[in-house]
Amino acid sequence: MSDGMHRAFRVTPQAASTRTYDVVVVGSGVSGAIVAKELAQSGYRVLVMEAGPGEEMSLADYQRSVERFYGAVSKDNNAPYAENRNAPMPRGPETRKLLPGVPDASGYLVQKGPYEIDSTYTRVLGGTTRHWEAKALRMLPEDFELRSRFGQGLDWPVTYDDLRPHYQKAERELGVAGDVADQAYCGIDFEPGYVLPMHRMPPSYLDQLIARDLDGAEVTLDGETYTLVVRSTPQARNGVPNPAYDGGRGYVPTGAVSLDQAELGLRCQGNTNCVPICPVQAKYDARRTLKAGIDTGRIDLLTQTVASRVEIDPETGRVTAIDFKSYHDPLSPEHETGSVKAKIFVLAANAVENARLMLASNLHGSSDLVGRNLMDHAYLLTWALMPEPAGAYRGPLCTSGIEDLRGGGFRRRQAAVRFSIHNDGWGWATGSPYTDLDLLVDAQNRFGADLRRALVERVSRQLLLDCMIEVLPDESNRVTVDPQYLDQLGNPRPVIAFGIPAYTMEAAAFARRLSKRIFQRIGAEDHTAYDPGAYGWVNYQGEGYVIRGGNHWAGTHLMGASARTSVVDARQRAWDYPNLYLVGAGSMPSIGTSNTTLTLAALCYRSAETIAADLRDESSPLSLVAAEGAA
């Protein structure tokens, strides 16, 4: 783009309403950013609509978010971002223990239970990748065939082999650091000679201690024996580029996002607050992709604008426009309304918000599956003290995990599970290190140098294993809307009904037993305790567990082989509305034991190809000539 266009990509609601785009994308998170960038680079004119503030394209803006996080009392996922009543966000600390039959509407999500979920998402430029941890695991080949292999869940209309080339594109875009040799397990295979863009994050000292004592341990489950191995975790975080990448051409990492010079965002420094915000921008977030798209000069960005309704032509079933509400002040309800037009519309607002927008538009789909089959990972946390100082709070949140129970014949009976070894102590489970300080001061009357020593001694020995457990699609787990629950702009808020199925709890009980064995084997003292008064408490077969959400919302517009059984096709096109795509984890018929981002990114590359083909079929790009004239 020419220099005069430095900030010309920002459009006003009025300007956006008068232009006709090839594609309108709702949401600037990783799904929307990939689709927008791919289509802009193919010559199409794209509008990206973002509900949150768009002031996130300079180092100073980013630094303000970092400082807000530092200053926040609650270090929750959305702590770095200012309150926004017009695009509210779920906040973990808002989660309350539910009374049976009484919905909790105190936070943004209206929770009906029976299980109260503390999962969140982030409504700012770049979406939830602004707070994600950046684990970038591929799904297993068997995750795509759960129904036919194990008689559980659903099959995908896409196989691992179909998705493999798109996984590679996603790994390039996100900048994944990892070791392919460590990732070849449970049937995952790679193209011969393939390497990831960057070398793996170095395993932490804690990882090494655990590997030393645990590697080779055997677990028997349903007659099959599994050998446990500590493996490095692939993640979208800048590390050391692999010179062998791309046939020896190597990889140049992308760094901090700014419209001006910003040679920041280099390799990870191990600050251990990846979630919610990396202070040095070593972690990928979708603004990088969006910025690359903006640099084509063919993306308009409309921020502080919430999509409120999808308009359908009743005769053709085609989307004619998306209505929006645009505001100036995040705290004031004042807003203006308008609508935008395009040939193709893409909803990329995440699994909850996509469903919310469809349902707010009274679009339930001919299958009535819009908003149903809501999934997330169920996390069981287990924690212990290592027999010696193990160096907690150094490195990214997790550098290694145990993957051997992600797949296997036991999935006929219980869910798959993977384990992450945490470098951030017990923080997630207990609120450490703040709670450790409370304990040492209030309960043990320590002070001065003795207190400092005791704190270091305790915190540096902390080990937390998170057990990430699969949840299968269930039509009664769902997002709905209800006119009695509206946000400040009058948009309906998501109403969540969610329960943890027995298939998942069976794996939770197994994971708890296994973690005890692991702690025993490595000589760690188990400190795990579940409080019946805590939200997320689940009683299963007489034992109590606390299950936490994983922020991996999925399934609300799942893909399938027919309009009767699914909402979108294998390319994420809505069966009922030929120029509407619903993209992101909402399309996933299962989530296995992978964080959803890498897979949904791969799916979006597939969709971008199809959308480009649709546009080619319709006519030449609207604005190709004009855009190149301006470039």
Binding site: R7, L59, P241
Partner: protein, 373 residues
Amino acid sequence: MSLHHITTIAGLHRHLEAAMQLEHATIPPYLTALYSIRPGTNAEAFNIIRVVAVEEMLHLTLAGNLLNAVGGKPNLTAKGFVPDFPAFLPDGESDFKASLQPFSKAAIQNFLQIERPAKSAHHEALEVEPVATGNVAVLERHRQRQGAATLARPPAAAGLRAARVDDDTEEHFFSIGEFYKAIEEGLEALYAEHGDALFCGDPRLQVTGEYYYSGGGELAPVTDLASAKAAIRLISEQGEGYEGGIFDHEGEISHYYRFEQLLLGRYYQRGDDYGKPTGGTVPVDWDAIYPIKANCKLGDYPAGSDLYRAGEAFNREYAAFLGLLTRAFRGEPEVLIQAVGDMFRLKDMITQLMRQPLGGTGSLHAAPTFEMP
């Protein structure tokens, strides 16, 4: 005749040693200004200085690669390697000294002097006349800026070890770019004489890109004339731009114009004229700093105090850090990964010092002195 032709291998080694000394000499001034900024303020300014400091570390490493490539032996622990600030730069500019100062307009002016372009399209170069003055051979260059102000460099300087040609002679360059130009010419001349034998260093001593990368410029091994010239080009262009332009070959803005943005309050973007940036604003709060004493010495610290011991401890730690870098240049590049943790510790020690008033009259705060034990 040119006064500083490099005609011998020994001369080349000496110049490359001076290059390492020079690159390092910029780092204490930049780090002092950088860490004097109060945390959480001046995000844009902080990053501009940080990027330059990081690139100086790249240049230091490239200079080390150059020296190793031609069979030299880098040593960052040699007596006098760290200048006694305020100090003339080791390439011999004699009209200014590099200073340890808090983040301020004066500090940025000083940085502009350090990074000033050797030649640029907008600086009409006048005649270049070598002048000899007594025992000191001086390259006297007069340059006229567009505003017709004349920049003249007086032909005098205190003896600088690195700039000594022999017992009686020392040389002075107008800018870092000209200094590297002389090295490049020397390399070419010596290559014509010695051929590939010039690059007799052990290639295993080269520090490679896996240990360093930044937004602009990669750390490449130096093994032959082409890679040596590429390293020199990268150092020169990152400092002062391509052919004196605002941006270098790769489109990265040069250090000189980076710093200028702080005074002009706005970012440059491609296509801009000198002095007239049109990018986003660079908001600067000159008051959001720790009011540290410029060119602070341990002698300024209260004797026998905890603060004094902390100042000494920093100097010891910094000396140890230079020792670690020396090991990295002598065949153990992997210690650079470990050095990352050391840099965090150095930063902590610096900011601890800067939070403490020196006491006595005035309200100035302590600052690291970089006096090597």
